[in-house]
Symmetry: C2
Subunit: 479 residues, 2 copies
Amino acid sequence: MSDLKLPTRAEDFSEWYNQLVLRAELADYAPVRGCMIVRPYGWALWENITAALDSRFKATGHVNAAFPLLIPKSFIEKEKSHVEGFSPELAVVTHGGGEKLEEPLVIRPTSETIIGHAYAKWIQSYRDLPVLINQWNSVVRWELRTKLFLRTLEFFWQEGHTAHATAEEAEAETRQMLDVYTDFAVREAAVPVIPGKKSAAERFAGADQTYSIEAMMGDGKALQAGTSHNLGQNFAKAFEIRYLDNTGVLQHCWTTSWGLSTRFVGAIIMVHGDDQGLILPPRLAPHQLVIVPIYKSDDEKIAVLEAARKIRAELIAAGIRVKMDERDGLSPGFKFNDWEMRGVPLRIELGPKDVAKASVVLARRDKPGKEGKSFVPQAGIAGAVSALLNEVQQALFDRALAFRKSNTAEPSDYNEFKLAVEKGFAFSWWCGSGDCEEKIKAETKATMRCIPLEQPGGAGNCIFCAKPSQEKAIFARAY
Amino acid sequence: MSDLKLPTRAEDFSEWYNQLVLRAELADYAPVRGCMIVRPYGWALWENITAALDSRFKATGHVNAAFPLLIPKSFIEKEKSHVEGFSPELAVVTHGGGEKLEEPLVIRPTSETIIGHAYAKWIQSYRDLPVLINQWNSVVRWELRTKLFLRTLEFFWQEGHTAHATAEEAEAETRQMLDVYTDFAVREAAVPVIPGKKSAAERFAGADQTYSIEAMMGDGKALQAGTSHNLGQNFAKAFEIRYLDNTGVLQHCWTTSWGLSTRFVGAIIMVHGDDQGLILPPRLAPHQLVIVPIYKSDDEKIAVLEAARKIRAELIAAGIRVKMDERDGLSPGFKFNDWEMRGVPLRIELGPKDVAKASVVLARRDKPGKEGKSFVPQAGIAGAVSALLNEVQQALFDRALAFRKSNTAEPSDYNEFKLAVEKGFAFSWWCGSGDCEEKIKAETKATMRCIPLEQPGGAGNCIFCAKPSQEKAIFARAY
């Protein structure tokens, strides 16, 4: 609502982000430090994300359930790496109903342990497998340096938890869900992502293997936008999740978990946004199109609103999410800026002259000024809008991919590498040693984001130690 | 999955309920006493409830958002009756990130306080009103006597929170949402409910007025199935939620809150279930119809499954939620019992003879044995199934309403009253005094459920003290 200008992204990317999230009313700070309020506009975006993911989960045979928020503290301690990873981040409930508890409880930082406990009870035989459950909820990991959507004490996500009879099935599930995340990111969010394998140092606490999708933000930094973990038999052994196989032998299950969170909202903001504000991908935008009626006299108002309502009805009937801005006392120019800042993909401007000509001005958010405007007849408006929404969706993806490509280098030596990670991704041979990874991080602040599944083949020399290397990895500074 | 018989409802209604919830795999006990795991079948039912409510909320102009789980303990203390009501039930977080917190936090028992704090910041002018926000989440109220869905330490619900410029608008909103709950209960859940006003003693902590919908369970007891509160200016004053009116004067807002929880799942179980198990209303049932293929030889299996898949495809195309039971090694009789116990409204039995005759056996869950079975041609099956689903939906409502009527008495004296509340509802004149209400409760265990909005008119004498009374109230023992 404010007329104040945002800082440009070039001036201060971080401050551009912080102010934009507040001004677009996506989220707000909560009274408890580290916590976030997701406001209706931000939540509507998240609801569209959840719907797009949920239908993919169900299409691959998963069902939803709800496990409790409160976990006995002792559960977290049952899996060795899990407790090391999560202990420093726990919120601990020590009192309930006015009394001190015998055993402290923790608010779930993630649900592997409590779900492992339930699976041990529910799974008896190979006939009970696979178990494919997802849960939409919020989790708490203690964190005081708040960055809305990206780093908050409580965040919203889905966590999938599956149990399988064999190692192969668990690995196939882990990879399938990585594919689901990739497909969602590309097709729904227009965010190009690199699916790949994490290093041992960056693995989930308790996983044998972690995969992630990595995206490049508008400042060249990386953001991990979703993860899928093959947990091997680690949690199955800690919680005794066992089944009788078809020969009557008792076996431990193989489990996976995978999650995507409200961080993804941050990715959408930072991949597509420009100096005017948000640009939301049409498939996820709460409002795909805003109609701004323009009039001066009361007579004009009557004629314009009548035409505008007819157009709105046609667009809604075609399944398009439409917002009509009928606010009094605000100029059309103010409304244009306001909805541009909020990233609505398309705008219809409708004044008395347009009514007379039975046309509208149709403006694209992703192309500024006259370049993005066209006159479109009111007859057949729904078809024209649908086609343009698809075009914008594709254009956003193409632009983000071109940006990533132009900011990804394949450095031939460590000096080039250091320059590359100043501005974007370095795609480099890496020997696989945690030692090189750690030194690179200390010297350049760049971390090993992932070993992309798509590899060039052949071999080369580690960018740091020059030892023979079989795989190339993405290194970048990251959120 | 178990072949064991449930206790009958007449033998032990409470144990019938407890065993049914577990056996139908709706929910399970969690390791933390008082907590509940909602299993996939139960969660699918809740998802259908949420969808039916959410579309009604959005149609009446509400939007969703997400407020934090953690609330400063001092917030709860800002509204006098609120703190008295909720203090004994709080879960308190005293440690986070390995350190003792300066101010303890509580896990939300409900969100009036934290939302009030946000509204005070967001609302400036009459132009910002009304604010109409809903949230789907879980809340924690300390409770160790667990009864799955009905009484748990953590439960799932929606909580709507609105702010208005005038007392009249707040009252209209409170009543509108009561109407929404009534419409949902009747049309979606086939649960007849009595909308009415609560007594002062039964009001929400901090409300000026509480309304509820009350339903009669299969044992004659009452269950409060949804509540809508007019909070007056209590929270607006405690949290300084103010707006500049159109004459430039600073005014306190008028607020409301309203909620419906997973208790409603308990209501569905106890209103419709019979001694064989659940009977789910078609509009909310996760599976509206189950197909049980029947065969002995491999040849029969091929022919039956082919026909069954064709039928399934036709039903799915018509928007019907279909489950096909292809489990090996289980007899058709076992499967019939299993799906009856799980309350699937319709069943198709399909054997080689049915394939030969191009028909199916279509069985209704709500009518036992032969009475509920018919032979239906495979041609046009989707139309026949849709019509029968509507018929079952209506029949469940009619049966529940008839049951409530036959177990509701209008006692003419206190002795009749005492007998009436042994088996169901007593609809009686009440003077409105908390003293009579308290004594009735102490002597009969019956509480004042609500003063129905629909009143016979006229006047009478209080069932307890015989003083002149203007209103009739529902008294009953309650969950």
